[in-house]
């Protein structure tokens, strides 16, 4: 028995070690990160260069583990790249960034937010996803800590809060823009929508899309839903779409379920046009995905990793070097958030020794007045109105030969 116990101890040890090794491998891009930091956020220790204490403390919550972690990690990494760049330049404004894990759960996000507050967060990057975002933005409002969320796109995140801003399109905005685009370009006669009804993102876009489509006189022949728990089998939804003679299917969802829909439609031999939203971005870089399945898929997106402008190329290269994957729009939005904050802080003349509330009051004044040029949006720049909603132009893209091509 004793021998067995030693054996099991040794094996547990080996398992733990292999875990740590795996973690170390994943984090190898940033040399400052301690290799055993499985539960600690790498970003927290990552900005040792600003030891003078003369840096703005910005904090954000996002799913760094769990099913939605692809979004949280992307945002964290995108923001970190921006912070590193700004700190390396050594200008007047320096940042210290810390991300806390919220596992895409509202309750955890509140705890994460409180941790950040105790740490001394002066400016917030809100939450990465909408469900936690609704919870933390209420706290941002109460505590008077300014927030600019990269990607929590639900209108509930900013509604009634004067100090919460969004970098991403609101869901409403995307829904009506998509309907308008389909109408303007005459893309479909009979439109069918497949949407995820337990997700505020998908539901928000769907509602607005249908309202706008009705206004424009687009023929929406039907819709079908799925949930987090049923996002594997789409034969039923696709059969319904086929049965109602739809020639265009609108997919307001993230790319993972969308990839299943494309695969299963192909298997059924059903080939309508597919039209996606910004969540579709990432489908081409999905490991093992047969990009020919996405041939001809259209989408509106604020960011295109294949764009050839200097800023995008530099960002994508850095991201790929550090994390060995192509950044998605979440990373780009978070990167833009940090730079937008920098621009606003400069215009407001804020200094790191100001309190969170002083910075908050200054930024509320400045934000609706600035025009920001970043990775997302087009050459016109990005502006905000006082409600916190962003105004930037979506890019219409179509997938051809495994790459995005602008539609206009």
């Amino acid at each position: 028995m004793k021998k067995l116990r030693i054996l099991s101890l040794a094996m547990t040890g080996a398992l733990c070690l292999s875990l740590l090794a795996g973690c170390g491998g994943g984090d190898s891009g940033t040399s400052e990160t301690p290799s055993g930091g499985a539960s600690e956020t790498p970003a927290a220790e990552n900005t040792g260069s600003t030891a003078t204490g003369a840096a703005f403390k910005i904090g954000g919550t996002g799913p760094l583990t769990g099913g939605a972690s692809i979004y949280g990690l992307a945002a964290q990494r995108g923001a970190q790249i921006a912070v590193d760049e700004i700190n390396a330049e050594g200008g007047a404004i320096q940042f210290e960034l810390r991300y806390e894990d919220d596992v895409h759960v509202a309750e955890t996000a509140v705890n994460a937010y409180n941790t950040l507050k105790d740490w001394g967060m002066q400016i917030s990057l809100g939450s990465v996803t909408s469900t936690p975002g609704v919870a933390t933005s209420a706290l941002n409002y109460e505590d008077r800590i300014f927030a600019l969320t990269p990607s929590a796109s639900s209108p509930d995140v900013i509604e009634g809060k004067d100090n919460v801003y969004q970098m991403c399109f609101t869901d409403d905005n995307q829904g009506s823009a998509s309907a308008q685009y389909i109408y303007d370009q005459g893309l479909g006669e009979n439109i069918f929508v497949i949407w995820k009804n337990d997700d505020v993102y998908s539901t928000g876009i769907y509602n607005q899309f249908v309202a706008k489509a009705e206004e424009l006189g687009l023929n929406v022949v039907g819709n079908a839903t799925f949930t987090e728990d049923t996002q594997t089998d789409f034969t039923v939804q696709l059969t319904q779409a086929q049965g109602s003679d739809a020639d265009l299917i609108f997919l307001p969802m993230y790319y993972q379920p969308a990839s299943m829909i494309l695969t299963q439609a192909d298997q059924m031999g059903y080939a309508p046009k597919f039209f996606g939203v910004d969540g579709m971005d990432g489908i081409l870089t999905m490991e093992g995905f047969d990009t020919s399945l996405a041939e001809g898929v259209m989408l509106l997106t604020p960011f295109n990793a294949d764009a050839t402008d200097e800023a995008t190329v530099s960002f994508v290269t850095k991201y790929q070097e550090q994390w060995e994957e192509t950044p998605n729009q979440f990373a780009a939005d978070a990167y833009d958030c940090v730079y937008a904050l920098k621009q606003a802080l400069e215009e407001a003349g804020c200094t790191p020794d100001m309190s969170a509330e002083e910075i908050n009051d200054a930024l509320i004044q400045v934000f609706p007045t600035i025009t920001f040029h970043g990775l997302t949006g087009d050459g016109e720049g990005i502006t905000w109105d006082a409600t916190g909603a962003v105004s930037k132009a979506p890019k219409g893209m179509v997938i051809q030969d495994g790459a995005y091509v602008g539609m206009d």
């Binding site: 094996m11 099913g67 790319y255 993972q256 298997q267 994957e325």
Partner: protein, 305 residues
Amino acid sequence: MVFLNYLISGIGLGSIYAIIALGYTMVYGIAKMLNFAHGDVIMVGAYICYFSMSGLSAHFEEGSLAAAVVPALAGTVLAMVVCTVLGVVIERLAYKPLRQAGSLAVLITAIGVSYFLQNAAQLLWSSSPKMFTPILSRDLQLSLPGGLSVSALTILTVVVCIVIMVGLTLFTGRTKMGKAMRACSEDKAAAQLMGIDVNRTISMTFAIGSALAAVAGVLYLSTYPSLVPTTGSMPGIKAFTAAVFGGIGSIPGALLGGLLLGIIEILAGGYISTQLQTAIVFAVLIVVLLVKPAGLLGKVVREKV
């Protein structure tokens, strides 16, 4: 026509549930514990198969018969081997020390193992979804009269499911190990007195259950190809439901429960509402359990007072 289409999808999905449910049911029947980590073993199997397939397929000429067969077969076998070892190790490290503990402690441990596997997978393989290459090309379709077509993958799934079921029935009915398993499931203490090595029997059960999980993982991902560290949890729960539906502890019950669950799920989505799909599945489960508390084919065990 549409109905038959739904039915075929339902049978395909149900067969996968059935294979997973077989693993649940065997472990429950013999060790009297719910192995909630079973779903995550599916996920591990799928990842192993995914990586070995993408590693191997580069060595074969594209389009040749060998390229279609060898990586898929090798990937599946490797996944089965790894999962078998994993299942036995999990049993040895996490469950065996609790053999004398209350059933709640074991249940919580199983949930813990499930989370451990999910998060370990996320650290090792990252949370970005991977597209699983099906083990049989999706283009292979069998056309039936009336414009129906059945994919070869669905046929393979059903065949594998039936073969496994028959094999397991023969195994538990005819072999010495099988008899030992049945003896353990009736009365562990008595089995031990008869000279049966209970620990070895339970390890064996976990080995078989986990190998089945690997097969189920490969088949499930071939049909529904998006692979993430949490892929296994939903089919795991559905298959657990299927096992209860058919009568937990009963091998034919797992098959029946799995198939019915798959078919009800698809038909409920198709004809009633996709929103209520899962609710309907569980409502049927409740009704069945009200009428037959032991499940469709479960044995009613009288409590001795």
